[in-house]
């Protein structure tokens, strides 16, 4: 397979490993590279860890809640790493040379792919693969003409362009078997991450069909095409991941029990088998101290939380919301406290403090509040400011590292007047590309200061809804500030446009060369999020059908892509520069030259990479053989023990995961998942939220009632 791959690539002439990607890159439609393309114009070689991938997510009609949250998780570096590494496959290699990661994935993809009919299963490497399949479905060929008459600055236009440019990763397959897991939200999330990382393009669009399919299958409340609550989704997703991972490892333990392989390999691989990683990342511990006013006895209870939901006040800060969260609360009247010491219900004082600080602090601003009079949820537009850096004041006295420094790295923004409609986008700080706005299919670099546009307030439709803070250090903070400064300085040196520089200090990171590009600020005149075009998809779960249904925008580009592959293939790393060079704009000439050089370099690099990849592949294959042998053994054992699960892909065995995926006998995934996940069932996590809210619970709530769908942030709102 790989050879096939390789050939294709080399065949693509100038093309490189990037094969598919270069493809369309706007060349037909877009007169100008998008800001993102400009930002990535002189990027170096692809990294194996996915940190330099910037994929939009297709919106299938009100699935922005999902897109925005998944994006945030993708750019939660440790989370992404864990997802990729979790069933500990190929761990050693992965660790040693991340470069080989994509390779692995390719194999992976190819594995299932080969097994599958070409039609439906375009895998991660879709561009290449898809080439044959897709064109048929996308005859329209409006790739070039479809220049929508829209305003080019409108998000709609940009989204279409993004879809058109592709590559579009149609995630309608799943690799759970190769992971040795049963199909779940986790595996499909992993599929997405793997696909994005494996793809040779830096930009593109993910169509998370399978993911949504599973989500909807298992969670009634997300079945409607209605607007959903992003925080509920986040919580559900994290809980699901926890559960999937735990179930998996439990079954693994019981099955493999004494197997040497497991015993040895698993621990050896960076605690990938450690199922607690979600907890480690997101979970913190709250201590509720309750002091009985009668006997003065203080009792403590610890609760875990995956995120904190805080009540909002007009003109406040996140800091203050968190402090309020931990303020003393009187338990009296109907809410009395049962004191074990003096026995019976007593008045008491209760306060919640944070005992263990999470590595990633997900803060949910409770903007949707149930109003009694209106009998429904209302959006609070309070102005709540959030700093780029944060520490927690409400820690217990014995908390470890109570002064831990957090940095803001992702914001989920809700746009709209109420809880039942609107749009979600996320603004995320990427590892080395500064802040980006992820609006479904569209990805656009933004200024650092842009992050502060979503405090809320009187006329602000768009307000921050979930804030992601991650643990950091002062050193890291300083370094970043210095880096920002250098960039600003460089920028200032190169362009003396006063206005641009005015914000210079806080500009996004652009790569020296193309200054200012980073914030080519486009006036988008479009109105808020509208996504009608995609509505047809609402009910679709299967990607396979998607192309057919998807009339124009989506499909054409694809076609275009496929046809162009050989020709345009070259530009992979230059992200469309070449294409736009064709426009022959006078100003672009220089760039062209530079670009050629770059291209040459890139070619060289690609060649090297390819060579490397081949070597890797060879090695992999060898390993695979070995692994297969090993896994067969284990599989045999396992089968004895329990026929249901495909555990043949021992987490510890390196490469085999892939190979095994396709080969293993994996019984059709045992579905031990709850068919619909009620969060109630997980008091463990939900409990935690409670002071804040109680709201978590609701999350599970009502799938059936789209309106009510558990947005209730009030304790009383349980719509079960």
């Amino acid at each position: 397979m790989s050879s096939f791959f390789g050939r294709l690539k080399s065949g693509a002439a100038p093309a490189s490993p990037a094969t598919g990607h270069p493809v369309a890159k706007k060349d037909p439609n877009a007169p100008e590279p998008t800001p993102l393309e400009k930002l990535l114009a002189n990027a170096g070689p692809l990294r194996g860890d996915g940190s330099d991938k910037f994929f939009g997510f297709e919106n299938f009609g009100s699935t922005c809640y999902c897109n925005s949250v998944v994006q945030c998780l993708y750019y939660s570096v440790p989370f992404r790493e864990q997802v990729i590494n979790f069933p500990a496959r190929s761990a050693p290699e992965t660790l040693e040379r991340p470069q080989s990661l994509p390779r692995i994935n390719t194999n992976l993809q190819n594995g299932p792919q080969s097994a599958l009919s070409p039609t439906g299963r375009n895998s991660l490497s879709s561009p290449t693969v898809r080439t044959p399949g897709k064109p048929a479905t996308t005859p329209g060929a409006p790739g070039q003409p479809p220049k929508p008459e829209d305003n080019k600055d409108s998000p709609e236009y940009k989204k279409k362009q993004a879809l058109a440019a592709g590559p579009v990763l149609t995630m309608d397959y799943e690799n759970s078997k190769s992971y040795g897991m049963s199909e779940s939200l986790f595996t499909s999330l992993k599929d997405i991450f793997e696909a994005v990382i494996a793809n040779r393009s830096r930009m593109g669009v993910v169509s998370p069909h399978k993911f949504l399919e599973i989500l909807r299958r298992d969670n009634e409340m997300f079945r409607t095409p209605m607007h959903q609550d992003a925080h509920e989704f986040l919580n559900l997703l994290l809980n699901e991941v926890v559960e999937n991972v735990e179930t998996f490892s439990k079954s693994r333990i019981t099955e493999v029990g004494g197997t040497e392989q497991n015993g040895v390999v698993a621990p050896a691989t960076n605690n990938n088998t450690n199922t607690g990683w979600v907890h480690e990342l997101f979970e913190g511990t709250l201590t509720s101290e309750t002091r009985c006013l009668t006997c003065e006895n203080t009792s403590q209870r610890d609760e875990a939380f995956l995120d904190l939901s805080v009540d909002l006040e007009q003109h406040s800060s996140v800091t203050s919301c968190l402090r309020k969260f931990s303020e003393e609360e009187m338990l009296c009247e109907r809410n009395k406290f049962h004191c074990d010491n003096c026995g019976g219900l007593q008045e008491a004082e209760k306060r919640m403090k944070i005992k263990r600080l999470p590595k990633i602090l997900a803060l949910h601003l409770k903007r949707f509040k149930y109003t009694e009079d209106l009998q429904r949820l209302q959006k609070l537009f309070h102005r709540v400011v959030y700093p780029y850096y944060l520490r927690l004041f409400n820690t217990t006295d014995d908390a470890e590292d109570p002064d831990r420094l957090y940095e803001l790295y992702a914001v989920v923004v809700h746009i709209g007047g109420g809880p039942y409609h609107g749009h979600y986008v996320s603004i995320i700080k990427t590892q080395d590309r500064g802040w980006l706005l992820f609006d479904d299919e569209m990805v656009e670099p933004v200024d650092k200061a842009y992050v502060r546009n979503f405090f809320g307030g009187e006329n602000a439709l768009a307000c921050a809804y979930v804030l992601f803070y991650q643990e950091t250090t002062e050193e890291a903070m300083m370094k970043e500030q210095e880096a920002d400064a250098r960039e600003a300085a460089a920028k200032q040196a190169s362009e003396l446009n006063p206005e641009a520089v005015a914000v210079g200090a806080t500009t996004p990171k652009t790569n020296g060369a193309m200054n200012g590009v980073g914030h080519a600020h486009h006036l988008s005149t479009a109105q808020t999020p509208t996504i009608e075009e995609e509505d047809q998809f609402a009910s679709l779960n299967h990607a396979a059908t998607a192309p057919a249904l998807n009339p124009n925008e989506h499909a054409h580009p694809v076609e275009h892509v496929s046809t162009n592959i050989p020709v345009l293939g070259a530009k992979k790393s230059n992200a469309g520069l070449g294409l736009f060079g064709k426009k022959n704009k006078a100003e672009e000439k220089e760039r062209k030259a530079a670009e050629k050089e770059l291209e040459a370099q890139a070619k060289q690099k690609r060649k090297e990479m390819e060579q490397q990849r081949r070597n890797n592949y060879k090695r992999q294959e060898e390993e695979l053989q070995a692994a297969l042998a090993a896994s067969k053994e284990t599989a045999a054992e396992e089968n004895k023990k329990r026929g249901t699960e495909d555990t043949s892909a021992a987490p510890g065995t390196p490469r085999d995961a892939n190979g095994v995926g396709s080969l293993s006998k994996a019984s059709g995934l045992s579905r031990f998942r709850h068919s619909s996940m009620s969060l109630k069932g997980k008091p463990k996590f939900w409990g935690s939220k409670d002071k804040g809210d109680g709201n978590g619970d609701e999350a599970a709530g009502n799938g059936e009632d789209p309106k009510g769908h558990g947005l209730g942030r009030k304790k009383s709102v349980f719509k079960f």
Binding site: R383, L405, L437, R486, G504, H521, H522, S524
Partner: protein, 615 residues
Amino acid sequence: MFVLPPPPRYPVGGYPGAPPGQLIETNNSISHPTGPEYQLVVGEGTYVLRDDLHLATPPPHPSEAPVHNPNPLATTVSPPTQGTKLSLVALAPRQPSSTLLQRLDTKNSTWSQVPPIAEHESNSHTSDTDSQGVNGFVSAPLDGLRTPVFGADNAALNVVNSKASKDPSKRNKPKNNIVKSNSSFVSRVIPHEALTKRLQEHNVNGLYAFANINRALQWLDLTSPTKEEHLTKILFTKAHALCHDINQVTRGPNHLDIVMGFSTGDIIWYEPMSQKYSRLNKNGIINPTAVSDIRWIPNSENLFMASHMDGSLVVYDKEKEDAAFVPEDQTPDEGMSDMERKTRLTVKKSVQSKNQKANPVSYWQISSSKINAFEFSPDRRHFAVVSEDGSFRIIDFLKEKLLHHYMSYYGGMMCVCWSPDGRYIVTGGQDDLVSIWSLEDRILVARCQGHNSWVTGVQFDPWRCDERSYRIGSVGEDTRLLLWDFSVGMLHRPRAASLRPRNSMASTNLNMQRTRTESSAGRMRSNSNLTSGSALDDDEVVHPVEPRARTAILPPVLTKAVDEHPLTWLAFEEDCIITSCKNGHIRTWDRPKEGSSTDDSGRTRSQTSSNAGIS
């Protein structure tokens, strides 16, 4: 006299494309709300709201009508703007409020007898410090002659200066008439119809104020019975004045020197009596970034300093022409350790430079991120700068040297103020804290917790400060005014134990614990706590963040929401507290009447209303 200013030239209905329903208001209004919610009850008595002056927000200039973009995600960068801030001045030579503090018996205070700053200086250098006696620092504010003048040793600068000020009684005015200006920078100037008369009627003890609101700058007479009517309103075409300052040295019945810094980077020197102005850093020729704060250099007639949003501090001479700026002596940045870089003040042009024909006089790169505010110390030798990156620096500007570099608990720092005696500095920031720093001890003295949002303005109340205790006021985005009483005595108590008795045990254990875990654990973790013990090191310039467990927490003596909008500024005057907000409300809070004062310490002597002259 009550005739309204001429109607705007554009239709009152709004500019084309204006968001419908937006009322365009062109006149200031004043209201006198009363009731308990307009009173501040503190130990010394009750402050009562005198009035609420609402400045009219000017509509956008017709030529600059903003493209209304309904997309809430629009990535357009809007130019920086700033809530209303005031620059206040009284023409009469007032006894500086700080004189109340300048007692000769400071020697008897609990403090070290050598004033902190003098102490530093004597350590390191001799020339300037000689003039400072034991109390030299303290008395410096009273006696400008003894304070070295910025740039005094530079002959190149002095030449120009002496020329400029041949006759000290006759002030130089800027060149251009602002009323008749056809500059595209200034849109329109609206003097009050009875301006001359009102100027004559002005009580010399009364306060003039200059206040920015959106693209307008208004000159107000706060003691006039018709204070809501501006004396002059200047509308700029698109630039917003973000900051302004009045030269206290040159003020006089016929002369006021005001400098304003704009969102475009431009600076205007304006003399309101003659309606003359001149423009500096035109089109950002020297520094193209917005001016976030601007202040006259103490004791200087001509020099002022502006902080730009790219982290540079530039000293300009109001009399000089601009010249494109090329950094003069720049030590290469490469090869320096992080520490060195941090501890160094990047001097791009020294005040000692011989090339002083044109602006800038000096140019320092303080930090990489936006400077939010700075203020000169009462001894006129130092200034404190706070930036968006959370740093707070104390700089000896005479020697162009960075003395100290502290960090906020987290988040940017937004405001800074020196205590009248120069011993303490308070800062406010995005950690919702007011932090009190001691220069003398080079430590964080206390964190004041009580704001519900970012702290945007902080001031000492000189009328309620003495050598032992200090009154601090702060305002924030939470619309609240908080007052804090901070007394020197408490510093001598072990901080953690005295102020947080409940936690003291735990916190000591904690520290040990933490150190242990940190040394052993391989996890990424802030090591802020590791180094904090070394805060007293003499040579230390960069100071680590103090962990919470070891810092005193000071609760407020008053917390009150005093506006509906986030506050941006406050000032203490002899007879009142003045606050202003983002939307242009200026509220004046009368101090408690003397009779009703419950304060028996005698600190309310300032209540003499003799020179208040307030309506």
